[in-house]
Amino acid sequence: AQSVTQLDSQVPVFEEAPVELRCNYSSSVSVYLFWYVQYPNQGLQLLLKYLSGSTLVKGINGFEAEFNKSQTSFHLRKPSVHISDTAEYFCAVSGQGYQKVTFGIGTKLQVIP
């Protein structure tokens, strides 16, 4: 079985400030981890993914995430946010032998001018 916990349902942050969106996972097999973003009135799109190799993964729009196996975490970070980053962010997990992805409940990032 696999599951994802996103601890924060909403995160307000001022423009140009750094942000971290937290994600913890549970899985009984080797994991593959994802962050998806859903901009207002749009579909979800893949932001970044970890399959293997370097634990620091860089994605689109300046976002990055770090896979931490000991803490079973995959937190998403950006050093300086823009108004255009206002969106809902979903952490997701899959793994060897799994053919589908399990999603967290999402974190709404609100960037304040």
């Binding site: 593959y32 998806y36 979800l44 799109q45 893949l46 053919q99 589908k100 409940i105 999402g106």
Partner: protein, 114 residues
């Protein structure tokens, strides 16, 4: 096509009616998934198709829900005798071979049962 196409984008139906939602995946993507997103909740897996293999129906919430896909083309999700709790955004995604490539999502169908 260039992306995953879903239709209709919005659907309002009366309780007890049947509805059919359509998904047209990216050409060449063998895997197709349906998810449901209720207000304030995460994405709930419904069903998965991979090529000509038997679909994984483990996420369908009741026998009122069914889905079909012909080969590697269009899929339809049918909800019979709709209930108010079926109101949600229904998302379709496709992927080349496996989920680990990452999904490409459609824009969804917003279903409202009144």
């Amino acid at each position: 096509g260039a992306g995953v196409s879903q239709s209709p984008s919005n659907k309002v139906t009366e309780k007890g009616k049947d509805v059919e939602l359509r998904c047209d995946p990216i050409s060449g993507h063998t895997a197709l998934y349906w998810y449901r997103q209720r207000l304030g909740q995460g994405l709930e897996f419904l069903i998965y198709f991979q090529g000509n293999s038997a679909p994984d129906k483990s996420g369908l919430p009741s026998d009122r829900f069914s889905a079909e896909r012909t080969g590697e083309s269009v899929s339809t999700l049918t909800i019979q005798r709709t209930q108010q709790e079926d109101s949600a955004v229904y998302l379709c995604a496709s992927s080349p071979e496996t989920a680990n490539y990452g999904y490409t999502f459609g824009s969804g169908t917003r279903l409202t049962v009144v």
